[in-house]
């Protein structure tokens, strides 16, 4: 994997900066211990009528416990497909995905996904029932305990007063909060988020990023987050994987643990954003 990452690095790419570009395996070695989630040389394909399209080609990265790992790339880099593969909805054609050393086979409640779309909340369940749903469906808890835990996590996202309304009565940001509470209530090994704030307006998105970071400070969940916004990646993530498009391949991994909403606009932040922009867009021809 390391050699692949090195081979993919363009000759002129700078190596200095707050987080130097390193191969996926090097990063794993530095952190020490086994990674919680291992994506090992995974190639993914999807079918359209008449052809098979390669979405990602031998992508590899490790996610450690309590890391906020971001997959960043332009559309067509297969980042969402990769997340679905980690969730178990798609089987890799090559390589494997391991969680706690166990190969991932099919979807399961140890990896809860927060989707971008608002219709991820069953409209026939109230907010509280929505949060209870995975707990009951996976037979993790009884009805009473599930209800208590649902209220606990709804309070965490500030929605306790709305526990008994139906989702259609909520705004988009509130719906995403319910989805996050639902995911956290399940206490999954990894929380998977597929552009969860992309359908929100800019102000709500900013607020949701802030809340997500506050929740992480409190709960310290492991997060795999997909986005196409460089700014969001730097704010939300502690480590960012950059993917190149058509097909998705690992371009770089960058540390962003130093950045948060407070560093928006700082020189360091701007410089890293510029560097990521350069890595993603300016040397497309040099990657081959």
């Amino acid at each position: 994997m390391a050699t692949l990452a090195l081979r993919n690095r363009p000759l002129g790419a700078p190596l200095q900066g707050p987080g130097a570009v390193v191969g996926a395996r090097d990063g794993a070695a530095q952190a020490g211990g086994a990674a919680l989630l291992q994506v090992d040389a995974v190639s993914l394909e999807y079918h359209t009528p008449g052809r098979v399209v390669r979405a990602t080609h031998r992508v590899g990265f490790d996610v450690f416990a309590s890391e906020r790992f971001v997959l960043l790339g332009p559309s067509g880099c297969g980042k969402s497909t990769l997340l679905k593969a980690v969730a178990g909805f798609i089987d890799p054609v090559e390589g494997e995905i391991r969680l706690d050393g166990q190969r991932v086979r099919g979807p399961g409640p140890d990896r809860i996904v927060v989707f971008q779309e608002f219709d991820q909340l069953p409209p026939w369940k109230t907010v509280r029932e929505n949060v209870m749903f995975p707990l009951l469906a996976s037979r993790t808890l009884g009805r009473k305990e599930a209800s208590e835990r649902a209220l606990h996590y709804l309070a965490k996202v500030g929605l306790a007063p709305f526990a008994d309304v139906h989702p259609h009565q909520l705004s988009g940001g509130m719906k995403q909060r319910v989805a996050i509470a639902r995911a956290l209530a399940m206490q999954p090994r990894v929380l998977l988020m597929d552009e969860p704030f992309a359908a929100l307006d800019a102000l709500t998105r900013r607020k949701m990023q802030e809340e997500l970071l506050a929740l992480w400070d409190e709960v310290r969940f492991t997060l795999l987050f997909v986005t196409h916004s460089i700014e969001e990646a730097l704010v939300v993530g502690s480590r960012i994987a950059l993917l190149s498009p058509h097909p998705g391949r690992m371009r770089a991994e960058i540390n962003s643990h130093a950045f948060g909403l407070h560093s928006l606009g700082s020189d360091d932040f701007q410089a890293t954003a510029q560097r990521i922009h350069g890595l993603l867009f300016e040397s497309d021809g040099a990657t081959e």
Binding site: P107, G108, I112, Q120, P122, P123, A137, H166, Q169
Partner: protein, 293 residues
């Protein structure tokens, strides 16, 4: 560089900031006037439509002035009241409804079986596709002679054609509803470890409920029509007839007002089932959930 024409440069105006007090000038919400609230009641609007139609009927009948062809609304109501009072009409309704409910329930069960098969396998889907395109256009009444041959001149034949009239439209609607379930919702369900029948019952059925309900309504209407038509044509031979037979018999004896009373009864039951059963069901489910306006 050359300067822009002065007319196209917006003026720079002074900035300002307001300190906002709590808003108390006008109440934030106010109630609608009583007549608008009354007009929002569906049953009042519908009742008005019904009253208008009855008035139109009465006027047309009086103008026509031929009781054999078109009895007046009042005469029909009198015949209806007589029929209800003597218990004859109610007995006919009971006979019709028991057969109807049997056929309907069996049709609903079969169609859920068929669609569950269709969502779980490709062969099941092909089976549903082929069967519905073969049998859905086939009028149930056309099958009745065959059914009488197979099941004899009794309830069996009627239940058979009722199943036929309910099964295909309901299966088509339910399947279309299942297919329309958003991919995100499906993935969420699978994410929580739901598979097989639990997945169908906890995700697909509630998510497709608007389509299933409209299928149930269509099925109900088809079943009603089929039953009345079957009784009109063959009811005489099945011993004790239902509403259709009542209509047929009274037409033969030229009691046109009773024919109309029977038709009104058919309409009344239709309205009753629509408002009491289906609308109540919709209000409790899809409307409360915001899936239907």
């Amino acid at each position: 560089m050359n300067t822009a024409p002065s007319g196209l440069t917006p003026p720079v105006r002074p900035e300002y900031e307001h300190r906002l007090e709590p808003f108390t000038a006008v109440p934030l919400e106010r109630a609608l006037p009583w007549h608008e609230r009354l007009w929002q009641q569906g049953w009042i609007r519908k009742g008005l439509i019904l009253a208008l139609l009855a008035l139109l009927w009465e006027v047309a009948a009086r103008w026509q002035d031929n009781e054999l062809l078109l009895p007046t609304f009042t005469a029909t109501m009198r015949a209806l009241a007589d029929g209800l009072a003597s218990g004859e009409l109610l007995e006919k309704v009971r006979i019709s409804l028991t057969v109807l409910l049997q056929g309907y329930a069996l049709g609903v069960l079969l169609s859920f079986g068929l669609t569950s098969l269709a969502v779980s396998s490709r062969v099941g889907r092909d089976l549903l596709d082929t069967l519905t395109s073969m049998f859905n256009p086939l009028p149930a009444i056309a099958l009745l002679p065959l059914a009488l041959l197979w099941f004899g001149l009794g309830r069996g034949a009627l239940v058979f054609v009722l199943i036929h009239s309910v099964l295909w439209p309901l299966a088509l609607n339910t399947y279309a509803g299942f297919q329309g379930v958003p991919e995100t919702l499906r993935m969420a369900g699978r994410n929580y470890g739901l598979t097989g029948l639990r997945y169908v019952l906890q995700i697909l059925v509630p998510a497709a409920l608007p389509a299933i309900l409209s299928g149930l309504k269509i099925g109900w209407a088809f079943a009603w029509r089929t039953l009345i038509a079957a009784e009109l044509v063959f009811g005489a031979s099945s011993g004790k007839g239902g509403l259709g037979w009542y209509i047929f018999q009274n037409r033969n004896e030229l009691y046109t007002d009773r024919v109309f009373a029977g038709l009104v009864m058919v309409i009344l039951i239709g309205l009753l089932v629509e408002t009491l059963a289906f609308q109540a069901l919709e209000r409790l489910t899809v409307r409360r959930w915001g899936m239907q306006k």
